[in-house]
């Protein structure tokens, strides 16, 4: 029932458009929600809420669809979201890459020094 062999490299197929591909059985096991996942979910809900309106959920879908195949396959679901959120916040000039990197460095330094 395969429509197109993924290995054939259909140039019109974006990474998310997997319907009909032969990719093996679906893992239907539930796993407990992690704090990370809930935070990413909350960030997206707040950023796309009309009261904030940083971007639309459609823009997040577009960002995720544009990932390389490697990124799309290797990143867990909410990591795909987080990567898209970062890209879109920069795209919309809410944050700059420099500001995000500076904040990440500060947080890493605090973590390494054993601080909270």
């Amino acid at each position: 029932m395969t429509v197109t062999d993924p290995a054939a490299g259909d140039s019109t197929r974006r990474q998310h458009d997997l319907g009909g591909l032969e990719l093996g059985p679906i893992d239907r096991h539930e796993h407990p929600r992690t704090l990370f996942e809930m935070r990413v979910d909350a960030m997206l809900m707040l950023l796309t809420h009309p009261g904030c309106g940083a971007f639309k959920v459609d823009a997040m879908r577009r960002a995720v669809e544009n990932y390389s195949r490697l990124d799309y396959e290797q990143l867990p679901y909410y990591h795909r979201w987080l990567k898209a959120i970062r890209q879109l916040l920069v795209e919309q000039r809410v944050l700059t890459d420099e500001a995000i990197e500076a904040r990440l460095s500060a947080l890493r330094a605090r973590q390494e020094s054993g601080g909270q």
Binding site: V3, D10, D17, K56, A59, R61
Partner: protein
């Protein structure tokens, strides 16, 4: 506007941006089940545009056997929401065409 019960073919064109029409439905014929209203266009919302003009969205029912070669259960169907600009009128005779 497409009336409920009309046959429609999903357009088989390629766009290089975001769209909500999955590849496996392109070129396939289905039947309009209902009209869900007019909504902002995700193809431009995805690029921070207002998504106007509004696009009519239809619930379209496809026969699974029309979508997948060798599909075993003739009665199974699949419904998908498809925007009007992705639909063209189709003839009843074309509904069973393998494509």
């Amino acid at each position: 506007m497409f009336a409920e019960g009309s046959l429609v073919r999903v357009l088989d064109h390629t766009i290089f941006g975001h769209c909500r029409t999955p590849l496996y439905l392109k070129g396939k014929v289905g039947e309009v089940v209902s009209y869900t209203g007019a909504w902002r266009n995700p193809e431009t919302l995805a690029y921070h545009k207002p998504g106007l003009p509004l696009q009519r969205l239809y619930r379209v029912r496809f026969r699974q056997a029309d979508l997948w070669s060798g599909y075993p259960n003739a009665g199974d169907t699949l419904e998908a929401d498809i925007y009007e600009h992705w639909l063209a009128p189709a003839a009843r005779a074309a509904a069973g065409d393998p494509s």
